[in-house]
């Protein structure tokens, strides 16, 4: 036998290969490492090579002024300093915050509501589930193009509906005060199926005894939901919160295919601004610095949610 089984040891000992290693010889260790890395190496090499290596490179670039052609000029922390006094970045941050603040809670609440409804044993439930989930499969590019048609002020179905209901028609994606909200709605349309399906699975995992116990104690439907179901769902909620926050922070395809940051830069998020800096105006250095800023915020937010969930004793992952 030339390799050990992690699975054969009790789970607690799974991560400490040390006692076994001490007994085995040096040669065996080398052979094990060769086999192990032959299995794990190729994929790890690709994943790390396409993320850690470019991430480090991005950091190097972020400390230069570079358009990709002329030699890069070292500017130290200049780009990061520039970020603090860039009004366009400030408004991009504001748009990102608004989008995230709209998108994350509504996708969680709507997903939960849909999951609760889909968890009933009623007719057509399979059909409903299919309908609600199908948009998740459509690409963001196709969704964006479809949305520009649906929300077209002249002949889109959205305004047509408003007209039939004798409500004032809207400019939607062409209005600088509505575009961001409309994009959030489109993103919800595409993403809420995901949240709903995850919540649905979690709801089905709740032991029925718990709910029965609540009913025996005389709790009403709403109190059972609030005091038993919602706390049981907390790990899933933490997971979806992290997932959807990252989705909202990195939303790019939809903005690219609907408004391209307009009108009047009202939908220019940090991610889109970064794309424009790098690939439209060739400001590689400053673009990388902005990307690093976004990275730092993502990590802080993720760690923050983890820290909070650990303090609240929720095992999310």
């Amino acid at each position: 036998m030339q390799f050990g089984f992690a699975g054969a040891t009790p789970p607690a000992a799974r991560n400490s290969a040390r006692p076994a290693k001490a007994r085995t010889g040096w040669r065996r260790g080398v052979r094990r490492a060769t086999t192990g890395w032959a299995f794990a190496g190729p994929a790890t090499f690709i994943v790390v090579g396409l993320s850690v290596f470019p991430a480090v490179w991005a950091f190097v670039i972020s400390r230069t002024k570079w358009n990709g052609i002329a030699p890069a000029k070292n500017v130290g922390w200049g780009n990061y300093q520039l970020m603090t006094e860039d009004p366009e970045l400030t408004s991009a941050i504001r748009h990102t915050v608004v989008l995230t603040a709209l998108f994350v809670p509504s996708s969680i609440l709507l997903g939960l509501l849909i999951a609760v409804a889909l968890n009933r044993k009623i007719r057509f439930v399979g059909f409903y589930r299919t309908c609600i989930f199908v948009p998740y499969v459509a690409s963001a590019a196709a969704t964006g193009i479809l949305a520009t048609f649906v929300f077209n002020p002249q002949f889109g179905i959205a305004n047509d509906t408003l007209r039939r209901l004798h409500l004032p028609t809207q400019q939607f994606l062409e209005s600088h005060s509505q575009a961001l909200v409309v994009i959030c709605l489109i993103a919800l349309w595409g993403e809420v199926g995901f949240t709903a399906v995850i919540y649905l699975a979690a709801l089905q995992d709740i032991p029925p005894e718990l709910l029965e116990a609540g009913a025996i104690d005389g709790a009403g439907r709403f109190r059972i939901f609030w005091h038993i179901v919602v706390p049981e769902l907390r790990p899933v909620t933490v997971f979806t919160a992290v997932w959807q926050t990252i989705t909202a922070l990195q939303l790019f395809d939809l903005i690219y295919t609907t408004t391209r940051g307009g009108p009047l830069q009202s939908t220019e998020t940090v991610v889109y601004y970064m794309y424009e800096l790098a690939f439209q105006t060739q400001k590689f250095g400053y673009g990388s610095a902005v990307a690093y800023g976004l990275f730092a915020v993502t990590v802080l937010l993720t760690l923050g949610i983890f820290w909070y969930s650990r303090r609240a004793k929720v095992e999310a992952f």
Binding site: Q2, F5, G7, A17, R32, T35, G36, W37, F39, A40, P42, A43, T44, I46, V47, L50, V52, F53, P54, S106, L110, L113, A117, I122, R123, F127, T130, C131, I132, V134, P135, A138, S139, L146, F149, V150, I157, T161, R163, L185, W189, V197, L200, A201, T240, I246, L249, Q250, Y256, T257, M274, Y275, F279, S288, A291, L294, F295, T298, V299, T302
Partner: protein, 296 residues
């Protein structure tokens, strides 16, 4: 219960109307949840339905006021324009090639790595696994510039490789397979090891056949990701012949933003294969989502 959380979009009138609630005070003849689910489902499906219907309209139909939902007759001018004026067939083939390579590579590489990290003990395993998982936090946008530069140096800008290389192996795929292998009982493998089978033999003969459900899951996710990817081909491919469907669509949008039947026909070609695949494989897909979602 909380009707306040539904999005403030009004029901769409031209669709088959949801069954009217019984106005009397006593019980509805059907569950009240239908009143929530029916309009919501319509809201989710009607735009897609309209996409398909519009792709069969003539431009006259589309520009009529008030707008029509159902085409007056089956017009295929959108598809005709699509197939004659653009490389859509080529883009479709490109996309299929990219997706096929990505799916195959991930099934091989990620299952191997997942098995290695789950079952084999070797120097550097924990460090390697930790490093791999940590990469999930790096946003794609941070990688865009250096990856583009890297692709330039590797000479794969303007080739299909630029579209599939980022999907050859992903941290998510490795993680998914590792979780699956950890959930398998180890007795079978131990027995095979006692009989003198090596690691590779055990992996290919015993473990992989058991991993079919997880592999199907991985394949579905990779198909979805690589087919729908816009960012990588967008930044690295500018030669029209090597576009994928998603990039082709966005290019259309820039140049033919008034030819809605053509745009919608393009959308249909780009989304319907996956939508049909999803409806066929629905059970597996939903199981997939929950599996991956809950296990993180």
């Amino acid at each position: 219960m909380t009707t306040t959380t539904t999005p403030p979009i009004t029901a769409i009138t031209e669709a088959p109307a949801p069954p009217q609630p019984d106005r009397r005070r006593f019980r509805l003849p059907f569950s009240g949840w239908h009143l929530l689910l029916m309009p919501l489902s319509l809201l989710f499906v009607i735009p897609l339905l309209q996409m398909v219907l519009t792709s069969f309209m003539s431009d006259g139909d589309i520009n009529r006021f008030p707008p029509k939902f159902i085409p007056t007759a089956l017009h295929i001018s959108g598809y005709k324009g699509l197939f004659t004026d653009s490389h859509i067939l080529r883009w479709l083939v490109n996309t299929i090639i990219v997706a096929a390579i990505a799916v195959t590579a991930q099934m091989v590489l990620c299952s191997m790595a997942g098995y290695g990290f789950a079952r084999l003990k070797f120097a550097g395993r924990n460090v390697g696994f930790f490093l791999m998982v940590a990469t999930v936090m790096i946003p794609t946008q941070l990688l865009m510039i250096p990856t583009y530069l890297m692709f330039t140096r590797l000479g794969i800008v303007n080739t299909l490789a630029a579209a599939f290389v980022p999907w050859l192996a992903t941290a998510f795929g490795i993680f998914l397979m590792r979780q699956f292998f950890l959930s398998l009982p180890a007795e079978l493998e131990e027995a095979a090891a006692i009989d003198g089978a090596g690691a590779w033999q055990i992996f290919f003969r015993i473990v992989l056949p058991l991993a079919r459900p997880a592999l199907a899951t991985l394949a579905l996710f990779t198909l979805l990701d690589s087919w729908n990817d816009l960012v990588w081909p967008l930044i690295a491919i500018s030669d029209e012949r090597w576009y994928t469907l998603q990039v082709g669509l966005t290019m259309f949008q820039g140049t033919r933003h008034t030819q809605w039947s053509l745009l919608m026909a393009g959308n249909v070609v780009a989304t319907m294969p996956l939508i049909i695949a999803f409806i066929v494989a629905q059970k597996r897909f939903v199981a997939t989502m929950t599996f991956s979602g809950l296990k993180g």
